[in-house]
């Protein structure tokens, strides 16, 4: 089941079947960007995304394209801003601490309506935190980064194959809407290897009639976020908001698994969704009907779809590698009509399938009549998971 409107072109069919190859998530995303036609990459090393930079350092010069390891994340993203101003297809990648440094330029690029793809391979925070996998930058990605009144689309892959496809989609979205687009991955997606079909997609180029290419035979253009006249800035802001409304209407994506008969719906994205998938198999073996609602766009969040899916269920269980960030969007989507439970691990810890089964069991037990038999009562429970009833 999928809620994605098929707006993006399908991959080109291949004449011959291609054998799967084993690729690391970071390297697969980097190669997908190259195959998508990335003209320039700017970065600065940080774990757990360093292999993106390393891959680009080797591959981009081979292809005669631009690779710069900048002096800092600030340098990298401002170089990207400059390159994007010329109409180039630009990629930047980092992890939480680096993304925070890039926040200012994200705001400038959103204000200047510059396309760019930014990959965040999340690690534990706040501050330097740890290098372990985390999903603690959800707020930053979906509500924050820089100052001002803007949004950027955020795409969350749950497998390496999906990460590759989303990189190409991200370039297309960035150029269609003239906006930065963020890929929100985590240390597991970045560091693991999975077999993937090495098929790639190159989004068609759009005419960039705003790009700074030299005004020899045409009127001059300007790319800027500065609008000192309040009337002008308000009008600019309204235009941006209209664009964000279009994105929110047309670009929502999510996927569902085993939802048809599910009493408990787990809402999880990225690596947490993978863990949930295994937990759902185990729970169902024991008679507990659990399904998965997996947002693929975190902004725009699939609120209407989740609200529709949640109707008539027994409970929602949100699973994240954070203290409860996407949880807030789930609560907004459900709007108080429903019991919502949460299970989260932080600091580089990943929830285990056993933890999630236990959380689902507790959600089930807490929402039924008192004398209802518990389908999982025979399971031997280990250390109790950190379930918080909301």
């Amino acid at each position: 089941m999928t809620g994605s409107p098929e707006l993006l072109a399908a991959p080109t069919p291949l004449a011959q079947p291609i054998h799967p190859v084993l690729m690391k998530g970071n390297e697969a995303m980097a190669e997908a960007a190259i195959q998508a036609g990335c003209d320039a990459y700017f970065g600065y090393p940080i774990t757990p995304q360093a292999e993106i930079l390393e891959w680009m350092a080797r591959r981009m010069p081979e292809l005669g394209r631009t690779f710069v390891q900048a002096e800092s994340e600030l340098g990298a993203i401002n170089m990207a801003l400059g390159a994007a101003s010329t109409g180039a297809r630009v990629l930047v990648s980092s992890s939480g601490p680096g993304i925070s440094l890039m926040a200012e330029a994200m705001s400038y690029m959103a204000g200047s309506e510059l396309p760019m793809v930014l990959i965040n391979v999340m690690r534990g925070g706040p501050g330097l935190g740890s290098i372990g996998p985390a999903q603690s930058d959800y707020f930053q990605a979906t509500k924050g980064h820089g100052h001002g009144d803007y949004r950027v689309p955020v795409l969350a892959p749950a497998s390496i194959a999906e990460a590759m496809a989303l990189v190409a989609d991200a370039f297309e979205l960035a150029e269609r809407y003239r906006t930065p687009v963020m890929i929100l991955a985590d240390g597991v997606i970045g560091q693991m290897m999975e077999p993937v079909d090495p098929t790639y997609r190159t989004p068609p180029r759009r005419s960039a009639d705003w790009a700074l290419t030299g005004a020899d035979d045409r009127p001059p253009r300007a790319v800027r976020s500065l609008q000192l006249q309040p009337e002008a800035l308000e009008a600019h802001g309204r235009r941006l908001q209209a664009k964000f409304a279009t994105i929110a209407e047309c670009e929502v994506r999510w996927a569902g698994e085993q939802l048809e008969d599910a009493e408990i719906v787990i809402v999880a994205y990225g690596t947490s969704a993978r863990v949930a998938r295994t937990a759902i198999e185990r729970a169902r073996e024991d008679g507990l009907r659990v399904g998965l609602f997996r947002p693929i766009t975190l902004w725009p969040f699939p609120s209407a779809a989740l609200s529709a899916v949640a109707a008539d269920r027994r409970a929602i269980l949100v699973v994240e590698m954070s203290s409860g960030q996407m949880l807030e969007d789930v609560r907004l989507a459900i709007d108080g009509g429903f019991p919502i439970f949460f299970h989260g691990r932080t600091g580089g810890m990943v929830p285990t399938p056993g933890d999630v089964v236990e959380a689902a069991r507790q959600a089930w037990a807490a929402t039924g009549p008192d004398d209802e038999p518990d389908p999982l009562s025979l399971i031997e429970l280990g250390e109790r998971s950190s379930v918080v009833t909301r």
Partner: protein, 183 residues
């Protein structure tokens, strides 16, 4: 069928490589597989690990709370991963470095002198390939021939000079898996 193996040892013992070999062998057999390393400082000399899941269906969680097999190349990894071995699971131990006896009795143990066998194979660095031979020989997660082809895929071009020693190390592990008694 799904089989999760955790490889643990010192950085430099080649356990990420052994896991990669197993994963590549699974790909060659058309299986689904995930390879997840402990990453970061472990790569620079401390204790490292990787988890390889081989399955006949799409893999959910690449992180496990129970391992079907544990390959422990040093004492700390035995202490760390023995508790999450499933009952009846396989422990492959590098007997050259691990003197301690496993704590549990509800498991199969394959105690291989990996370091010594690597030396006989012609290269001290092949410790983890010996262990992989033992793992594959005992469990049949993937076929031995797929591992030989995977070796050729992964190092045949980059380091053809190492192929002979790697293959010898693999054969030593496979052979010992058949010879050593279950304890």
């Amino acid at each position: 069928m799904q089989h999760a193996t955790i490889f643990g040892g010192f950085g430099g013992q080649g356990l990420l490589f052994a896991g990669h070999l197993l994963a590549q062998a699974a790909v060659l057999e058309g299986r689904d597989v995930s390879w997840m390393p402990s990453y970061g400082p472990e790569m620079r000399g401390g204790t490292a690990s990787c988890t390889v899941i081989v399955a006949d269906h799409p893999i959910g969680s690449p992180i496990v709370d129970a391992a079907d097999s544990v390959v422990a190349l040093n004492p700390p990894s035995l202490a760390k991963f023995e508790p999450i071995l499933v009952p009846g699971g396989l422990l492959v131990l590098n007997a050259s470095l691990i003197e301690a006896q496993p704590q549990r009795t509800d498991r199969d143990v394959l105690a291989l002198p990996c370091t010594a066998l690597a030396r006989i194979s012609g290269d001290d660095r092949m410790v983890s390939v010996v262990a992989l031979g033992g793992l594959v020989g005992r469990t049949g997660i993937v076929g031995a021939d797929a591992v030989r082809r995977a070796l050729s895929d992964l190092i045949g071009v980059k380091r053809p000079d190492l192929i002979a020693a790697d293959l010898a190390a693999l054969e030593h592990g496979l052979e010992q898996a058949g010879v050593l008694q279950r304890v």
